[in-house]
Symmetry: C2
Subunit: 161 residues, 2 copies
């Protein structure tokens, strides 16, 4: 049964507007996302799976991080990227400190189902904790590694000293 919200909003001149909120009906909100395939995803010995985050618009690879089952489930359900921090050993919603959250537009798995690819909108313009747009800002040349990336923010200003 589809339940729709309706509201009468008073106008300054005393009339009313009938607002019909079918897009946010209870029925649509309650439709479950089928995540039964999560049982076929292969996590490694630490219960993690690597995830490639790619800019949905430009195709730029922004970062690679790891997800445990909870963060993968939340990423799929909430369409907001969350990971497992191996260094801090904790669940981590990307952008919880910096505000640079990742809105998830598409989630893909590879042939072996042991790697995830997410296509995202990177809020704030930077995926890297160093303030660079992409984490992959070290380019290999025949003369060694060179820094080659776009700086978006100063990490000292965002995370503090």
């Amino acid at each position: 049964m589809v339940k729709c919200k309706a509201a009468f909003r008073p106008l300054p001149e005393g009339g009313v507007v009938f607002a019909f909120d079918s897009l946010h009906s209870t029925a649509i909100k309650e439709r479950p996302v089928d995540l039964s395939f999560l049982d076929t995803v292969k996590f490694d010995g630490q219960g993690l799976i690597p995830c490639v985050a790619q800019d949905a618009e430009t195709g730029e690879v922004l970062m690679v991080a790891y997800m445990n089952k909870d963060s993968l489930k939340d990423t799929l359900e909430k369409k907001l990227a969350s990971y497992w921090s191996r260094s801090r050993q904790k669940y981590w919603v990307k952008g919880e400190s910096s505000g640079n959250t990742q809105e998830v537009k598409e989630v893909r798995f590879d042939c072996d189902r042991d790697c995830v690819l997410i296509k995202i909108k990177q809020n704030g313009g930077a995926a890297c904790h160093t303030g660079m747009r992409s984490c992959f800002y070290f380019k290999a040349t025949d003369q060694g590694l060179v820094e080659d990336g776009v700086r978006v923010f100063n990490p000292e200003e965002v995370y503090g000293q």
Copy 2:
């Protein structure tokens, strides 16, 4: 000292053409690639580093595989992708069976230097051993996983039954 190859090739009518091969001079071939930064790359407990292979032209993420130090070194020096197969526990030049080699156009490392991104030309048009163009052909939808990819070859014809 620059050494250049030169050759006289006879023409059908009896003349000669002077061919000057400066692009493939010995001097250029002998110039060493500086790989001293390899000591700063972080390999995991198994001596491996994950590598994202991305189509250099289209930006499509084609596969994620693992490299050990030897395969990373060879990839950088020979500009042809090689990996470490975790399932077969062996060094593996991509395309050695299928012919679908990967010409390396660019190599990047992330901020932590524990992940590699290579931008490649995928010969044969397919990166996946299943014959799909990209390994990431399982797309997550609210109704579950669906196959969504481009099939380039039949693996039974390429690898045998």
